[in-house]
């Protein structure tokens, strides 16, 4: 029977209300990378510890994906009928900038917008399972992060 699964259990603590993305912090130079690297790209050190990333940040830069990504591998809506352009951003989470899609109207995304990480259903895999991935969601003015 079809189920719901996370796109890659090694990159977040999903499921749960307080799910977080998981990165790696170098024990030597403290540089944070997402996803957790095998070796530190900054200093070449081999000791990297898992770290939960801040769930809230700001848009550092963005674009709008104007055409359906090749599917497969893309698991989201990719047919001419179902595809809608979506924003993709690097979000500054303080320790690291993480690339991810931004939910909502792509034409409204701007640099410095506050966003939070969320875990929506991206699409279905070959076995009919719902696949959950991470994305960023704009934080409305006046709401609490």
């Amino acid at each position: 029977m079809p189920d719901t699964r996370f796109i890659d259990p090694s990159i977040a603590t999903w499921p749960g209300e307080a799910a977080r993305l998981l990165g790696g912090r170098c024990d030597g130079c403290a540089v944070v990378t997402f996803p957790a690297p095998k070796g530190c790209p900054a200093c070449g050190g081999g000791d990297v510890s898992q770290v939960e990333l801040d769930p809230v940040g700001t848009v550092w830069t963005y674009t709008v994906q104007g055409f359906p990504p090749p599917a497969p591998p893309y698991l989201g809506p990719a047919s001419p009928d179902t595809f809608r352009p979506f924003a993709v951003a690097y979000v500054d989470l303080g320790s690291v900038l993480v690339e991810g899609p931004v939910l909502g109207d792509p034409s409204s995304v701007r640099i410095d917008d506050p966003v939070r990480v969320v875990f929506p259903v991206l699409g279905q895999d070959q076995d009919g399972n719902d696949v959950v991935a991470f994305a960023f969601e704009p934080i409305e003015e006046g709401s609490h992060a």
Partner: protein, 382 residues
Amino acid sequence: MPESEVVIVGVGIHPFGRHEGLSGLEQGAIAAQAALADAGCAWPDIDVAYGGSVASGAADSLVSILGLTGVPFVNVANGCATGGSSLMAAFDALRSRQCDLGLVVGFDKHPRGAFNADPALLGLPDWYAEAGMMLTTQFFGMKLRRYMHDFGITEDALARVAAKAFRNGERNPNAWRRKPITEEEIRNSFVIADPLTQYMFCAPAEGAVALVVARAESAPAGSRPVTLRSAVLASRRHGTFEVFSPSLSSTRAPSPSVFAAQGALEMAGVSVSEIDVAQIQDTESGAEIMHMAETGLCADGDQEALIMSGATEVDGSLPVNTDGGCLANGEPIGASGLRQIHENVVQLRGDAGERQVPGEPRVALSHVYGAPGISACTVITA
């Protein structure tokens, strides 16, 4: 014994574009024969060869077309810097006096449509492609959007760069796209990766370029040498903004283009103010703009006024991509970097016809940049 001066004595090109029924290798052979004829020498005179293609097979197979002379022929595979790396290898072999006369060749024939990438081959996790982020076009849009925000570059400048490319392509018989396109059409074409539209992007293509290089003392009689002053390669450092990066460091570092250009100018012993003509990587309109500053041709933010005032046109004070660049020529990866050097040689010889930079240009810079964060720059002088 002092190092030998190295000169480019012959250039040959097979036109860029789409060529049904002609393999990449065959286009490479046509370019090689044209370069040999231009240099006034023959294939058996060549005592070292370097070449590469990304999608069209081993360059050393050219010997089966050009002739089995026993020449040492090295295949080079270095992504977008394949041509630059081949030239660098030939440069080193000649200036250290290991050889007298070398051939450098690059060719390619890519399928239509965007370059598709397999995450596993690049050390990336499957989820990155499954989530819709494994597209080079997103990288170009995002690097550019931040740059425009930081340095006040407008969408008008993006359209102007593309329009210039197609105007220059119109005056280049070897270019693929030779029909001018208005800035309005460029702006209003399909938005591929905001702020970049379809006509602001180059496309995979076909083509070939070859150069004959020599020690100055060995230049064939009657050839018209230009001097190869430097060829420098750099790869990325931690903190640069590169394609296919699930995350970026919170501290920024200069692009590899900065180091390759500085290195090439230093080795050549010329200052950036002496550059008369430049061919720089324009995978999309914004890349030309950002690379103008990364190569040191201008300061960050100065591009807007330079472009809108016409300074980067063929008859401007800082002519950039006079042959139409990647935008008008397409990008056969193995040949693209050598196309820039071909154009610089043609310009320094005064042979560029309708697109000739006026005033007898004497110093030319070329710059390639590509995945996953490599850059190659060369300086040649008349």
